[in-house]
Amino acid sequence: MKEIWIIARRELNAFFDSLVAYILLIAFLGFSGYFTWLGGSDIFFRKQADLQVFFSVALWTLFFFIPALTMKQLAEEKKTGTIELLLTKAISDRQVILGKFLACLMLVLIALALTIPYFITISSIGDMDQGATLSGYLGLILMSAAYIAIGLFASSLTNNQIVAFLLALLIGIFFQFLFNVFSSGMTGWMGELISNLSVTKHYESIKRGVIDSKDIVYFLSLTFLGLMFSELVISKRK
């Protein structure tokens, strides 16, 4: 556990040292803030004291934000050869993957924590459904964990960061968008199955304030699979 934390801390420092963290935090807060407070269907227009707009926008911002965090994690290490240093230390491959996963997740948590003022402001100007808001945040965290795991997997497959970024988006777009589209054209168990693979579907249900174990299991399985495949790829070196 200590080793995982050492790796996570290094990666987190690297995010802040290289400005990646600041750029992404500003972009995330900028987009989600604009649409929550100023954009077309903002909170004043809707006259609803909730964060539903924020949650919808955050889903898409994080969708693009996360591959940018994960793309360098393994691809860059493979390119510069530092992966060799890391994997020959007295740590397991799994600890390396988990450390990097934790670092990305923490940066996302920092981004989400910076939106707590939205929560405070809105709950002070109206009667807010706090349960739905908290479960919305939980949904964002779970969905981020899943996309981080997918991003790490994409990063483990290549030593080119751009390829890792695009690959993560490509895999992600299926979960984010395409499975919904596919399933709408299908009926029966196939349609049911594919629609259940969609991140958006499970996220929407959590966002509404319904914490169903089915949704939680879905996100955790996706995260677990992503991490497991990343570890598999990394441990299979030639």
């Binding site: 790796i7 290094r10 690297a14």
Partner: protein
């Protein structure tokens, strides 16, 4: 251990034993399997077959890797980290207790001469200093075994001398396995030489052993004055143990004397000079060059 890439056998069932405190030089032409072997020793690459034991325990156990310090080929480093942070990171991953880390860093900074550069980012360092950082990270957890893959590539002659001295200093208390294709380096630093070619060990021993195996015949250069060249030549050729005599330079009366297989003729030559009242002004044993041995065993 063995390792294949597709059909090509990179390392073909090699086996060797290294004693504690020994400095072993791993020699071989490019592509002979040196780096692959080192990567297997450090468990970066999985072996196809075989095992690597340190004190009887397999390196496959994660915990055993604490006993190895590794400087990979080309010395990859996190360019964006300051030297001190990087060393602390490496020490932490090897399980050095937190309270001991500052002391270890001080020790490594002193040992590797990093004091001036310790607060810089690694990316800003010159090649020589980067190499020292690489060595420092390899040693920070006090491993029993050091595996160094071409530790002096790309360094200038002064830096090479410094790094070699550092390795020799370390070799007193650690087992060092280093690979190189620079032959004088092995002679200068190593107790023992392993030559690998096409994935097989083709020679194993001290530089002295290898010379004996390779040449067998001793050659000495001698300059003998105080007699007629003809007379000296004939008498030398008649000495027991001498296989042939070659007159190199008649004016300076220089000879090259080759002994029979396994025999030495230094003493016989000396006594002959004394008997005949010649003046022996030079007597130089010619050693077979390591280059020749290397060429011998790696070119089939």
């Amino acid at each position: 251990m063995s390792k294949s890439y597709g059909l090509q056998k990179a390392v073909d069932d090699i086996s060797f034993h290294v004693k504690p405190g020994e400095i072993v030089g791993f020699l071989g032409p490019n592509g002979a399997g040196k780096t692959t072997t080192m990567k297997m020793i450090t468990h970066y690459l999985e072996m196809d077959g075989g095992d690597i034991l340190i004190g009887g325990n397999s390196i496959r156990k994660v915990n055993m890797r604490k006993h190895i310090g590794y400087l990979p080929e080309n010395n990859p480093l996190y360019e964006d980290m300051p030297v001190i942070d990087y060393l602390a990171f490496c020490a932490g991953l090897h399980g050095v207790p937190k309270t001991e880390i500052p002391g270890r860093i001080r020790e490594m900074v002193r040992l590797c001469g990093l004091n001036v550069e310790k607060h810089k980012k690694i990316g800003e360092l010159s090649k020589g200093y980067r190499q020292r950082v690489g060595l420092a990270q390899a040693m920070i957890h006090h491993p029993a075994v050091l595996v160094l893959d071409e530790p002096t590539t790309g360094l200038d002659p002064n830096q090479i001398v410094e790094i070699r001295e550092l390795i020799r200093k370390l070799g007193r208390e650690k087992t060092v396995i280093l690979s190189t294709h620079i032959l004088p380096e092995v002679e200068a630093t190593c107790d023992r030489i392993l030559i690998i070619n096409n994935g097989k060990i083709v020679a194993d021993g001290t530089a002295q052993d290898l010379r004996k195996q390779a040449s067998g015949r001793q050659i000495i250069k001698a300059r003998i004055q105080g007699g007629s060249v003809q007379d000296i030549f004939e008498k030398l050729a008649a000495l027991p143990g001498v296989a042939s005599v070659d007159l190199v330079n008649a004016d300076e009366s220089r000879f090259e004397i080759e002994s029979h297989q396994g025999a030495t003729s230094n003493e016989a030559v000396f006594h002959a000079c004394v008997q005949n009242k010649w003046v022996l002004t030079e007597l130089i044993p010619i050693e077979t060059k390591l280059e020749d041995i290397f060429r011998d065993v790696t070119l089939n």
